[in-house]
């Protein structure tokens, strides 16, 4: 019997996560086809050209504020949400988990730290609900989304911007600021896609963000003495395609992060270039390949988000059918065993 990670997301959180994902992907594709047009000219053309991408970007920006404006009060107004926020406080264990992860990757530790477990194999009490990486994601996302929304609103309408700042140059500085901040977010999302798409036990996608808690099949945790390791992972079978896909995705993620990071650092946007476009820096094939690999991983994220939702529909259907079969509360194993 396998041990699944606990479904952690409520139904609303599942919907929020998917909508946020599509919204942010739309923002990335439109925003960076403009900012890194040297490398992503094809994306701009694909999305409908200069005018269209900016319209889509604004529309998605509006959607982002709407989603955040909905979810933050929802989180704050529920006892459970406030409890989760309280759990975000970093602890010493999180530091240790980070170090142990490095030791584990290098082969010097036998297991990942409980605060790092994606593949839990523990009851909920034993493993914190938010991994140390999850905490980092929550912090970075909060800061980034706030800064991106504020700077995005400041450059929404350049003529209105003149009321806040006296020169167009100031407005352009905020355009550069906005674009550069977004790169941090983008690099983080690339990592997020790799982290949750290529864990060998969950590959090709970790379902906890797609199947809500209420629909996650019950878990039969084998007794401690029947497990060979703390997680029971050795009972699971690896998918045959995991090896090469993970090699490709890992390389694409690493090169994509490097490409976007280098482009953001070396392309100049401020002081304002005379032709008013972000550019300069090492414009060459290597950088173009790196950036396009990053976009490839983002596109993979779109596919995986869709796939996760398909699996949720499937799981819901299966749950429904197995309930109809037994006509009773099916308990732990029905959905797992079918």
């Amino acid at each position: 019997m396998t041990v699944l990670d606990n479904g952690k997301f409520t139904r609303v959180a599942v919907a929020f996560h998917t909508l946020l994902a599509f919204d942010v992907f739309a923002l990335f594709f439109t925003g960076y086809s403009v900012m890194f047009n040297d490398e992503l000219w094809w994306l701009l053309a694909l999305l409908g050209g200069n005018q269209a991408v900016l319209e889509i970007h604004r529309l998605s920006g509006y959607g982002l504020i709407l989603l955040v404006g909905f979810f933050v009060p929802l989180l704050l107004s529920s006892a459970r949400g406030r409890h989760h926020i309280a759990e975000l406080v970093p602890t010493r264990e999180d530091m240790e988990a980070g170090l142990q992860d490095l030791r584990f990757a290098l082969g010097r530790a036998d297991e990942r730290h409980p605060n790092a477990r994606q593949f839990a194999g523990y009851s909920e009490d034993e493993v914190p609900i938010i991994t140390y990486i999850g905490k980092g994601v929550a912090y970075i996302d909060s800061v980034m989304l706030t800064l991106l929304i504020v700077s995005g609103l400041l450059i929404w309408n350049k003529t209105a911007m003149m009321a806040f700042f006296q020169t167009k140059a100031a407005a352009m500085a905020f355009v550069a600021f906005h674009g550069l901040l977004g790169v941090i977010m983008l690099m983080g999302i690339v990592f997020h896609i790799f982290e949750h798409g290529f864990h060998p036990a969950f590959y090709p996608i970790e379902l906890k963000a797609f199947v809500p808690e209420s629909e996650t099949p019950g878990q039969a945790t084998p007794p401690e003495d029947e497990r060979e390791s703390a997680t029971g992972i050795e009972r699971l079978q690896l998918r045959s395609s995991w090896g090469w896909t993970t090699t490709v995705a890992g390389a694409a993620a690493a090169l994509g992060v490097a490409g976007f990071g280098l482009a953001a650092i070396f392309d100049y946007a401020y002081p304002i270039p005379l032709d008013l476009t972000v550019g300069g820096g090492p414009t060459n094939y290597a950088l173009a390949i790196g950036i396009n690999l990053g976009v490839l991983v983002l596109l993979l994220g779109v596919v995986l988000t869709l796939y996760g939702n398909l699996l949720r529909v499937q799981a819901t259907k299966r749950e429904f059918e197995s309930e109809a079969d037994t006509g009773a509360d099916t308990g732990a194993t029905a959905a797992v065993d079918d």
Partner: protein, 130 residues
């Protein structure tokens, strides 16, 4: 909706709260965009004074290419990109290595049975392959 009903405020309140928060979201987003768009949506064209000396179109570009404060702000952001980029790169590589170790512990593919994404299934009992 039983999953939300175990939240503190009970079943009926959750739907209401979701509805209220949805309204808050719409109001916040619409209000902010409306505000930065200069209030009601009417067309506002900047007036043209056609000389650089008169502060006309293009004058602010030619005189305002840089402001030290913003140059530093952008530089600071680039530094943040560098730090975040290296950290994220490390995380990607570290997870890649960790995933490889985890994969090595799992049963090799091809032994029948499917696990993971579909919700997990038991590997055949006695299938202690490899």
């Amino acid at each position: 909706m039983s999953d939300e009903s175990d939240e503190a405020s009970g079943g009926g309140g959750v739907r209401l709260r979701i509805a209220v928060c949805a309204v808050i979201g719409v109001v916040v987003a619409t209000g902010l965009v409306w505000y930065v768009s200069g209030g009601p949506f009417f067309e506002a064209l900047p007036r043209i004074i056609p000389t650089v000396e008169g502060g006309g179109v293009g004058a602010d570009w030619s005189t305002g290419r840089a402001a030290p404060a913003f140059t530093w702000l952008v530089l600071l952001t680039k530094a943040a990109v560098a730090v975040a980029g290296l950290t994220i790169l490390y995380m990607v590589l570290m997870h890649w290595m960790a995933f490889r170790r985890l994969a090595a512990r799992m049963q090799s593919p091809g032994g029948g049975g499917q696990v993971s994404t579909d919700g997990g299934r038991p590997v055949d009992e006695g299938g202690d392959a490899e």
